[in-house]
């Protein structure tokens, strides 16, 4: 299988047709990430995936210049870079689009029976703000390190740590209250 770096190189040198392979390779990953951030809203998750890929294409040159030197496993580099872009896309969409309201203040998001098995998780993260949800998902679902999350969200590591711990205690309190 052709590596991500080679596909990036080909895209930069020979045009956007090679980018399609990268899109197909990471489509499910970004869609799942979007679903978890939006609490199971398929339409919003697809928007996040699409916008993230478009933004990734725009900044592909900077990936080659900067991210190549980041100390991460080669096979994770592009995925991590995309995760950072998707995180910022979600943040921007929350700011600009009225339909991305906090989960607990908007009506039930569009439900898809195929994602019903995650319903417990979506209910769990409902009380979290969009920022807390992002940090929580990155830390506890994708197991990213605090320093990596800090880089994705452009916050400092201390702030990330305290926000995650606040989110966690909010969820534990809610969980104990309900059980």
């Amino acid at each position: 299988m052709i590596s991500d770096e080679a596909l990036v190189e080909k895209t930069l040198n020979h045009g956007s047709q090679h980018f399609g392979t990268l899109v197909k390779r990471y489509a499910d990953y970004l869609f799942a990430y979007g679903l978890r951030l939006t609490g199971g809203n398929q339409g919003f998750a697809e928007d996040i995936a699409q916008q993230s890929f478009i933004r990734a294409y725009k900044y592909l040159g900077s990936y080659q210049r900067q991210y190549i030197s980041v100390n991460a496993r080669a096979e994770d580099r592009f995925r991590n870079w995309l995760t950072g872009i998707a995180t910022n896309c979600f943040k921007d969409l929350v700011k600009t689009e009225a339909r991305y309201q906090p989960l607990d203040s908007c009506p039930e998001p569009a439900k898809d029976p195929r994602h019903e098995s995650s319903r417990d998780f979506y209910d769990l993260i409902k009380p979290l703000s969009s920022e807390e949800r992002t940090l929580f998902v990155l830390r506890y679902i994708y197991d990213y390190q605090i320093t990596e999350i800090a880089a994705f969200t452009q916050l400092n590591a201390g702030t990330v740590k305290s926000k995650i711990s606040r989110a966690l205690s909010k969820l534990r309190d809610k969980n104990y209250a309900q059980s």
Partner: protein
């Protein structure tokens, strides 16, 4: 209610898949092509305006030079005399404008 850890573990092992990744790839590539063609059009528009400006400048110079023997009033006469008195200056300006036009054509910007 299941406890927090078991919910997180269940979600971690959950696979979420798009119905049609090909459709997403198609829509992303189409949008990229649209944005690129928009950017190309904008560049061509700017180049076109610069070209039109350069061409207008040359035409105005020619008109002004041909009017040097006619007793025109005020600014036109002064400008014509100034251009006539500085042939090297006007030649270099013309050379610059012609170079802009040639580069624009060579780069297929317009």
């Amino acid at each position: 209610m299941r406890n927090l850890e078991s919910i997180l573990n269940a979600e971690k092992s959950q696979q979420h898949q798009l119905d049609n990744p090909d459709l997403l790839a198609f829509s992303v590539l189409t949008e990229i092509a649209r944005l690129e063609s928009k950017a190309r059009l904008r560049t061509r528009l700017i180049a076109g305006l610069a070209l039109a400006l350069a061409a207008s400048a040359i035409i105005i110079q020619l008109i002004t030079l041909s009017a040097v023997n006619i007793d025109l009033v005020g600014m036109v006469h002064g400008l014509a005399r100034h251009i006539n008195d500085n042939p090297f200056l006007i030649t270099s300006i013309n050379l610059g404008l012609a170079t802009i036009i040639l580069i624009t054509r060579k780069q297929s910007l317009f």
